[in-house]
């Protein structure tokens, strides 16, 4: 029973994650990630 409950929770969270990625992509958040990541992040390297 415990394993089944954990499995249901896991699958629901997995679906939530996939839906979040799809929603983020639909909202253009992937472009925001790309837009930041293609430039050298001065904060990340300890200069900004």
């Amino acid at each position: 029973m415990r394993r089944r409950v954990i499995l249901v929770i896991s699958v629901l969270l997995l679906l939530t994650g996939v839906v979040f990625i799809a929603a983020g992509k639909a909202l253009g958040q992937d472009n925001a990630v790309l837009g930041k990541a293609i430039f050298i992040c001065m904060e990340c390297i300890g200069i900004g």
């Binding site: 394993r3 954990i6 499995l7 929770i9 896991s10 969270l13 997995l14 939530t16 994650g17 996939v18 839906v19 979040f20 990625i21 799809a22 929603a23 983020g24 992509k25 909202l27 958040q29 992937d30 472009n31 925001a32 990630v33 790309l34 930041k36 990541a37 293609i38 430039f39 050298i40 992040c41 001065m42 904060e43 990340c44 390297i45 300890g46 200069i47 900004g48």
Partner: protein, 292 residues
């Protein structure tokens, strides 16, 4: 294949996976030579481990850096995209990400293989220090980037800016060494971060994965998923003879007999290999429970 050879081979599989994944996620070799970073479309995808997207070789984005940049500043939308990646990685793998897919974890593990007479299994106050990573997660990854905004509503990725030693090692050092423009911009912050990196790397020789254990907010996130992740461990209490070999073998300070899915477990599998009774195993959630 003999049992001894099979066990030895199994012990090296994780190292091979770690090296392979570190090479794959940092596969833009040209960047190291030219002091530039990859700017292609793969950068919109988050990698599972702590891997700075300003590393000259990085092909994907660091989920922690992306999360901070998605929420830093006033009026930012809910970060569906990055949280989606963190949820998928977390629910499928949990902290197996730390054990198998994190390049910075691999570096610390390799450093811990250096012989040193004063090696420690844990720092004094280990159980209290473990909570520091949750404080860093809450404060430097969420609260400060969201609320510490300037007059223009702009904030900073506080963890990346003030703490992250992976960024200094993978991004800062190679770029400072290869790009004269960046080298001329180096200031006090860079040297503070360099000191943090040096401390982590020196500690890694003494203690197993000190950054993962005590400070890594990404490990804290994945640790929250460990109890419900699809990759889980189980201890068969009927087979366990409480010899304690699993606890002795665990370098992360977990007792697999009582808490096989501890938030600290990075799924290295050392306890499975050391158990003389085969009482510890990877739990298959999709299979029918055995009749006992």
């Amino acid at each position: 294949m003999g049992k001894g050879i099979r066990q030895k081979f199994a012990g090296h599989i994780r190292l091979l996976v770690q090296v392979f994944f570190a090479c794959i996620t940092n596969g833009f070799a040209e960047g190291f030579a030219t002091g530039s970073i990859y700017q292609g479309a793969f950068k919109r995808i988050c990698v599972p481990g702590l891997n700075c997207y300003s590393c000259p070789g990085a092909l994907g984005s660091c989920p922690l850096g992306s999360l901070q940049n998605s929420i830093a500043g006033r009026g930012k939308p809910f970060p569906f995209y990055v949280l989606g990646f963190l949820t998928v990685f977390g629910i499928v793998l949990g902290r197996a990400v730390c054990g198998f897919l994190c390049p910075f974890g691999l570096i610390q593990e390799l450093l811990n293989k250096i012989p040193f007479p004063l090696k420690r299994k844990a720092l004094p106050g280990d159980i209290y220090f473990r909570f520091v990573k949750y404080v860093i997660l809450a404060l430097f990854v969420v609260i400060l980037p969201v609320f510490a905004v300037n007059a223009y509503g702009i904030s900073a990725p506080w963890f990346c800016k003030y703490i992250c030693p992976a960024g200094t090692l993978e991004g800062g050092l190679p770029l400072v060494l290869t790009d004269s423009g960046i080298r001329s911009s180096v200031g006090i912050l860079f040297f503070i971060k360099l000191a943090i990196l040096a401390a982590v790397l020196i500690f890694a020789v003494v203690v197993y994965r000190p950054f993962c254990r005590y400070f890594c907010p990404l490990g804290a996130i994945y640790g929250l998923f460990n109890k419900i992740a699809l990759i889980r461990m189980t201890t068969d209490q009927g087979k366990c003879i409480s010899c304690g070999k699993c606890e002795d073998a665990c370098k992360m300070g977990v007792d697999p007999r009582t808490n096989p899915n501890s938030a600290e477990c990075i799924r290295c599998g050392e306890c499975i290999r050391k158990c003389p009774c085969k009482a510890i195993s990877v739990e298959r959630l999709y299979s029918r429970p055995s009749q006992q």
